[in-house]
């Protein structure tokens, strides 16, 4: 309460709460509090897997925090559509729409034209990570650009104790998200821009074909792989290639420094060189719930998070993983002061660029309408299920795709 004269309390939720990140949040909070002595900001970590439950309960009970960060963009779109969160146009204006990478704000533009949230960072998830040393050993000079090249490379490097790659085949969000990318990398899409289901198309079958063919280059346990397993498979050196965001960099430094100098990344291969890379970007969002007790202050704090002296701090907590949405940061001396960022400056710059052009199911292309059901589609696991049916159970792809299509239709109309 402001009326009682005590400090105003702002609550800040985020599911990204590793100790390093929490430390960086503290720093950002301290910076804001020192400029606004009458404000106290309380950071409250939420669960990464269980956030829908927590948010549902909090919304229902009117117990929302003042600021939320790091939720996927489609979650923000969905909440906004239900009138649960504030439009952020003024915040965007205060930071300056131009300072963002082109496209970084697009996923947050709601059907009514307002911004429902801002991207506090971005991630380039569909990076093909590879071991230069191992590829060279197998006589492969350049990083694969197409699926065929990738397959061939995997076949060449794979031997006992070393897998060609590690892709997720588990019943989880990663499998769904990665496979959506794969469809796009074949030139397909799940929905038309008007959000009609368009999954039953040749690219999808090509994607399924590719995905099934990669199974033999993955560890047997890939059937349950999700983010963590895919990451460690590559970081530990168990697989010669992998698919992941820039998180790889920090983990290699901490867990397997021996390979720090022999890793590289490129955009994930596509069906053919004609098809441009497509990366899934989940655009960690920042939004302010409707129920916030002090939206004005929350907005001020939100703006401060993007200020040049604070924003790099945030990004440095997970070097390479959460990438800037603001232009100019990749060269910012504060950002570059981080040894990892400095060491992998090239890779990070590339990922930042790719991420800024990334998409996700919430808005498959700039031409698409925001898909408010994206969250539910991922949560329903219907895409992962499609993968498992075809790859693990060997079902007829036509049947499986047909089934997936009808589920998507049902989800869209629910």
């Amino acid at each position: 309460g402001d009326r009682t004269g005590g400090p105003t309390i702002l609550r800040w939720w985020s599911p990204q709460a590793t100790p390093e990140q929490v430390a960086s949040y503290r720093e950002q909070i301290r910076a804001f509090e020192s400029r606004n002595p009458n404000v106290r900001i309380v950071f409250e970590p939420t669960s990464d897997e269980g956030y829908p439950t927590q948010f549902a309960a909090a919304f229902a009970a009117g117990q929302m925090p003042d600021l939320v960060t790091h939720l996927p963009s489609f979650a923000a779109q969905n909440y906004y559509d239900r009138g649960l969160i504030e439009p952020m146009d003024d915040v965007v204006a205060a930071i300056g729409a131009d300072s963002f990478f082109p496209g970084a704000l697009a996923p947050f533009r709601a059907a009514d034209g307002h911004y429902c949230a801002i991207g506090i960072g971005s991630t380039a998830v569909d990076m093909l990570w590879y071991r230069q040393d191992l590829l060279q050993l197998a006589g492969i000079g350049a990083a694969p650009r197409t699926w065929d090249e990738l397959r061939a490379a995997c076949a060449k490097v794979q031997r006992r104790g070393l897998y060609g790659t590690a892709l997720p085949y588990g019943m989880n969000s990663m499998t769904s998200l990665i496979f959506i990318s794969i469809i796009h990398q074949a030139g397909g899409q799940l929905f038309t821009p008007e959000l009609d289901v368009a999954i039953d198309s040749p690219p999808t079958y090509a994607a399924l074909d590719f995905y099934r063919s990669m199974r033999e280059f993955c560890p047997p346990g890939a059937t349950i792989f999700s983010w963590g397993e895919c990451l460690t498979a590559f970081v530990s050196g168990a697989s010669a290639t992998g698919i992941y965001s820039g998180r790889v960099l920090a983990n290699v430094a901490a867990q397997n420094p021996r390979i720090a100098d022999v890793i590289g990344c490129v955009a994930y291969p596509t069906l053919s060189r004609a098809i441009p890379p497509w990366t899934f970007n989940d655009f960690p969002s920042l939004f302010i719930p409707k129920g916030a007790r002090n939206p004005a202050l929350a907005k001020a704090f939100a703006i401060s998070l993007f200020s040049p002296d604070i924003y790099p701090t945030q990004l440095r907590a997970t070097p390479g993983h959460i990438l800037p949405t603001l232009k100019g940061i990749v060269d910012d001396p504060v950002y570059l002061a981080d040894p990892l960022v400095a060491k992998y400056q090239r890779e990070i710059a590339m990922m930042a660029k790719l991420a800024a052009n990334g998409h996700n199911l919430g808005m498959e292309s700039p031409a698409h309408l925001p898909n408010l059901r994206a969250g539910e589609i991922i949560a329903s696991n219907c895409i992962a299920e499609l993968v498992q049916r075809v790859v693990l159970e060997g079902e007829n792809p036509r049947l499986a795709v047909g089934q997936a299509a009808s589920r998507l239709e049902r989800l869209m109309s629910a």
Partner: protein, 304 residues
């Protein structure tokens, strides 16, 4: 409470008896109060929600009548999940009882460092399910899992086993880990009961010519039947409702082969934001649990 107890002296045996009964009601009152507040309210809410279409984050409701139930009962998800739930419940419960009773019997013997063994064996039950599942995923990890490597070192297998990603491995693994996690519950209860079996009965049976297996089936087992009944009932209910373990271990996969009803409820409620459907599923689950419980309770009351 004290004031209520300091009633004026009773004037007749009947008044005294009434005062006694009042005191008895007073002592049970906190239980009734807490349980009805924390149970009755959610129960009623759930029943109410199940008759509506509900968007979870806002709980905005819209009358739906019995359509949720109709959708559930006519779709395949419910029946498939029910079958999965039954396989899981029966499988893990059987293992828990089997291993729990066996372990209790072994621990009831005079072995070296018995107290230590008894403490150690309860350990899985101490561990938070979240942690237990993560540890198991780590143990069974396809790349670094010590289980695979140990089995390979022992020459029992030559490539890592896909413990959780294919059927029937996934269900079997889940069932075994569930059994590992919860069998100490059976051990504690059975161990306590074993100490009350009159030693004379075993001696009489030995004189009558019973071997050790016969003594187990003819004396130990019938003595355990009461406590095993209660333990099995509770564990059955709890296993039927188990969410954390399966959700964190397999997430219901591969496909929906380990997706039990609570996972379906969770997905409906928080994944698909359809609280009304979730509530309808929950009500159906409750009826199922009731159907499983009532025969036991009826028998228990009959015995008394």
């Amino acid at each position: 409470m004290a004031a209520l107890l300091r009633l004026r002296p009773a004037t007749s045996p009947q008044a005294l008896a009434r005062r006694d009964a009042l005191l008895g009601l007073l002592l049970i009152a906190p239980t009734v109060l807490i349980l009805s507040a924390v149970i009755a309210y959610p129960l009623a809410t759930t029943a109410y929600l199940s008759l509506h279409n509900v968007y979870t984050p806002t709980l905005a409701t819209e009358w739906a009548g019995l359509s949720n139930y109709r959708a559930i009962l006519s779709g395949g998800t419910f029946w498939h999940a029910l079958a999965t739930t039954l396989v899981w419940t029966i499988g893990t419960l059987a293992l828990q009882l089997l291993f729990g009773v066996a372990m209790a019997l072994l621990l009831n013997r005079n072995i070296r460092l018995r107290a230590l063994a008894r403490s150690l064996v309860l350990f899985p039950y101490f561990l938070a399910t979240v942690v237990a599942v993560l540890v198991w995923r780590w143990l069974l990890n396809g790349l670094f899992g010590v289980v695979d490597h140990a089995l390979i070192a022992l020459g029992l297998i030559d490539t890592p086993v896909d413990w959780l990603g294919t059927m029937p491995n996934a269900m079997a693994t889940t069932i075994v880990i569930g059994a590992w996690k919860f069998f100490p519950f059976v051990v504690i209860a059975v161990l306590a009961r074993l100490q009350t079996v009159p030693a004379h009965l075993y001696e009489a049976a030995r004189l009558d010519g019973a071997g050790s297996w016969a003594r187990f089936t003819d004396i130990t087992l019938p003595h355990l039947s009461g406590v095993l009944g209660l333990v099995a009932l509770l564990r059955m209910i709890w296993d039927f409702r188990e969410f954390d373990l399966i959700y964190l271990l397999t997430g219901g996969g591969p496909l929906d082969h380990t997706r039990t009803l609570p996972l379906v409820v969770y997905q409906q409620a928080f994944g698909l934001n359809q609280m009304g459907m979730a509530a309808a599923y929950a009500v159906l689950m409750m009826l199922l649990v009731l159907a499983m419980t009532i025969p036991y309770l009826a028998r228990a009351r009959g015995r008394r």
